[in-house]
Chain length 598, copies 2
């Protein structure tokens, strides 16, 4: 069985739950149908399993080297990414007019997921390139696009996102890198950028950095940031590479995980001019970035789910095959040892993983589908609705998996016991890899402030009300399934708690007190969303089970029912406790002070 | 400020809370008083900070090498342990008659804690040696003790515990290593032992393995296990070292953390006879091991607390010094950035750490004090009471920190953001190191079964009732502190929930159903215990605050009140949810099956 993807579950989410086939009728996606998508998935799975997965341990063990000012990575990284490029996967989500394959975002997401589960470190280079190319496509001049995009979509040149600086990690308002007019439509870029994944490597001849910098005399804070395309090597008018653009690799970070991806401190404009091209309008850098934000944050959440999926599949396989001990009601030491899946606590740890992974995966695809619906929706009003719904769910899809799918990775290690603690198995690496997802693209705390402080309050709860109406509709649809009564009743109570809590918080005019427990609000909010997606899955499963089924299909749907029930009983009550805390306007952290930790 | 110990808090727990000075009046500990203990702590802290802490990153990065059948560790490991030995710390807890310093166990625990916080990998060698020497002291013949103990107490020879085997990790009943009579009081040992920490190293000339093995014809299961002392090099009658004893290093495990401690697969009796000495009676190996179990499990719990303490102290220091962003009610980008401790979510993460670390540390010392009380208690009835109370708390002190102090390490990383994810700071290493504590010395699941399946049910809840009476006494003592009304009321409700849940579980005669959520019961049980210890600490703090105090002292006690309140509000409700689940006799995991994870 594959340890990077559960194709049956993927099909279930896409075609039985979300009915993504409806998108194929849009003109934009008319080249796609289920068969074509299945073929793409087959290709991706085979490549991920045969080329990416086998080198995951290697690129983890052989960290990038800093040699003579350059980052050197194991040659297998380049080989894998060349195969990825040859299959056209860099071009997958791009418009045909840009030379792309114009696939729906959910297809790109699923394909990327398989590679991420197999080897997140190597896959990162591709996703960063696609993100940078996407910015260029959206906001770059036709001239620049013509010169650079084809190289990126062919995987010849990679891309990066250069936002953070040493003194301004999460606080983009404090970015200091400057851009000054250098004539000929060029800008001279000076400053240091920190945490740049793929910031240097020896895989591609050129690297296209997307850099936030400040024009002289602009407004302070994020409103004064502009976006620049800064190539590692200058690019001549004919598209060929020119001289060094003086982007200096100042150091490599040595990380807990995702070690196969270089992570760099870059200095721009050191030892010579670094020239960049403005992308978009002056002082619109943050807006350009926000255009990419939803997709990027779905991507991080999905990467977290994929790390957990790989751990879940591996530990489930182990639990079925590892013999140890006996059931609690069988203590005869002469009886044979049983597979550890027979121990109820091992099944608890598998259920914890399954409910987090398959619940959060459904959320990722739901959001990816919203991205696609948004792309093809002609009606402005409906587009606005989709935009706000996606915006509301974005902090959830980014943050909930990075907390609860990391927890899943913890349980995967635990099932393997001592073996799980060694690098003979991938679960410890997956745990390390996944720890990053809680931090980058906006920390857990920042997502909480985004959700409560911005998304929920911005329209005074209107979008949230639309979401809860959607959730209540799913609850209603499940009303005629007696198997689901408990799950339905309990989810209803939790939606009530979400609404009551939100009302209480919105009624609090002290912004510091209102947002004091925003992270906890986000966590519980995520439970509502995941609980909803579980009830949705369970409803489909219950319906399917009323028909004759093969043993395998019956087991599949029964597993969905049980995971839903697990989530209802084990997880929803924790969210109630968290909502109660938020609704009490608890100030136990707000009223604490530095001296408490002295 | 120290990043391995909070001496003020240590004093608080020992002298204001537990009044360990009462032990000094026992004849056994008459050489000790507060001043002497303080001097020992000063010495330990200085050595831990100056010798152990500076090499923690090094021994993590330079994993032990397997060279020509031997494990090679960085020479700094030996240097640190020689200093530890020279200071007499190997001998600290041993009886004077054995050449020890006869210190109370809590002193040994506190001293070990500082070294563990500084560098758990190197400290492990010492603790394993002390554990092995303890077994030898308790159960070895006078002749053997005379030959071997002085070497171990001087740190010249190290020791190990050889329990697990590749096919029998947690299931000791399935141990296959055999011991056959080889004449002259010797036994020939054959078999493989897995996960042996310190199983080989190039620090000491000899290694004393304590090995569980099976005599021919004995009963099956754990009742047929005997304990043997198996030296790496044979020991001559005069105590000098003889020839190789054919203990073969078959491989080193490459671990997520605690990398400076070798972890070995050892083969006994391969390529020649391996000779061992029986320790204790035939077929009493498990009883001998259980003699050490409480101390060993307190040790693991305490190690987990220490990893979290080091992370907490480091992240608190970082939060006070790292400038980033602005308060939510101050958005002017021209205003200066603030230390991140000003962000309420950072304080939440510090509170989460503080409440777990200082709560669990109090539990470790409470248990260590019980060990000492047990040692000096002349009355058999009171000894029996202390034994059962300690037995009840042992799975809690082992398991609760390994879950919640690991979580604390997660938050330490989060506070440092990207920096926390790099090895420029110790927090990622502490997180990796701490992950082991959930696994070794009995996994989380096994501790749950020990607590509910054995300790609580064995005497039908009598010892538990004694514990809840102790907790209710603390609640009563807090009754005249109006500041603590909320904490007192909420803890009372949780104790009620514990009692109700336990009664329900004990009333369930289906052992599989009763223990199906034993792990979750343990988790919530731990919250009762930690909640109790917090109320206890808060009561002392509230009383202290009624007197005139220096600013520093006032801040110390106010921090205790706030952490108690945090634990009451943020953590106790989660335990309620978990007790409710257990009391419902939830079968959502019990009724699941292998095919659900297919």
């Amino acid at each position: 069985m594959s340890q990077i993807v559960n194709r049956r579950d993927l099909d279930f989410v896409m075609y039985e739950m979300l009915h993504v086939e409806r998108l194929f009728s849009a003109k934009r996606y008319s080249a796609y149908d289920r068969e074509a998508v299945t073929q793409i998935f087959d290709t991706a799975q085979a490549m991920a399993e045969e080329i990416f997965q086998p080198i995951a341990a290697l690129v983890d063990a052989q960290e990038p080297d800093f040699v003579k000012g350059k980052a050197i990575v194991p040659p297998q990284t380049a080989q894998a990414l060349h195969a990825f490029a040859d299959a056209g996967f860099f071009a997958l989500p791009f418009d045909e007019e840009a030379g792309g394959l114009q696939a729906p975002w959910f297809v790109h997401t699923a394909v990327g997921g398989m590679f991420t589960a197999a080897n997140t470190s190597v896959t990162n280079y591709a996703f960063l390139t696609i993100a940078a190319a996407n910015l260029l496509f959206e906001f770059g001049s036709e001239e620049l696009k013509k010169r650079v995009l084809p190289r990126m979509l062919a995987g010849e040149w990679f891309g990066t996102m250069c936002l953070s600086e040493p003194q301004a990690g999460s606080s983009l308002a404090d970015i200091r890198t400057t851009a000054t007019d250098a004539g000929d439509g060029l800008y001279s870029i000076r400053g240091s950028k920190m945490w740049i994944s793929g910031g240097d490597q020896d895989i591609t001849d050129n690297i296209i950095h997307m850099v936030l910098a400040r024009l002289p005399g602009g407004p302070p804070g994020t409103k004064g940031l502009s976006l620049f395309m800064v190539p590692k090597q200058q690019i001549n008018d004919d598209g060929s590479m020119g001289a060094s653009n003086n982007v200096r690799l100042a150091g490599l970070n040595h990380k807990l995980g995702q070690r196969g991806t270089t992570n760099c401190l870059l200095n721009f404009g050191e030892g010579g001019a670094t020239l960049g091209y403005m992308i978009g309008e002056p002082n619109s850098g943050i807006e350009c970035m926000f255009h990419m934000m939803n997709e990027a944050r779905i991507g991080v959440g999905h990467a977290s789910v994929m790390a957990a999926l790989a751990g879940y599949l591996h530990s489930a396989d182990y639990a079925r095959n590892r013999l140890q001990g006996r059931r609690v009601d069988q203590r005869d030491p002469n009886s044979p040892q049983v597979p550890i899946v027979e121990h109820v606590d091992v099944r608890r740890m598998l259920m914890a993983q399954k409910s987090a992974v398959e619940g959060a995966q459904a959320l990722c695809f739901y959001c990816a589908m919203l991205v696609d619906q948004l792309t093809v929706e002609p009606n402005a009003g409906r587009r606005a609705d989709l935009t706000s719904l996606l915006g509301l769910l974005t902090p959830v899809v980014k943050a909930w998996p990075s907390e609860h799918c990391l927890e899943a990775n913890k349980w995967a290690i635990q099932i393997l016991g001592g073996y799980g603690y060694t690098n003979d198995h991938p679960v410890e690496r997956l745990y390390r890899d996944n720890r990053l997802n809680h931090i980058h693209e906006g920390t857990f705390g920042i997502q909480g402030l985004d959700l409560l402080g911005r998304k929920v309050t911005a329209d005074d709860g209107v979008t949230l009300n639309r979401l809860t109406a959607i959730i209540r509709a799913t609850i209603s649809e499940a009303a005629n399934e007696p198997l689901l009564t408990e799950d339905r009743v309990d989810l209803t109570k939790l939606v009530d708690a979400l609404e009551f809590t939100t009302e209480t918080l919105l009624g609090c005019k002290d912004v510091a007190l209102r947002t004091a427990n925003a992270t906890i609000y986000l966590d519980a909010f995520g439970h509502v969303v995941i609980g909803w997606l579980w009830l949705w899955q369970a409803r489909i499963a219950a319906q399917a089970l009323s028909n004759p089924l093969s043993d395998g299909e019956r087991a599949f749907y029964e597993g969905k029912l049980r995971a839903c029930r697990y989530f209802t009983r084990h997880q929803l009550p924790l969210a109630h406790a968290r909502f109660d805390l938020c609704a009490s306007l608890d100030d136990s952290c707000l009223s604490s002070c530095e001296a408490d930790f002295g």
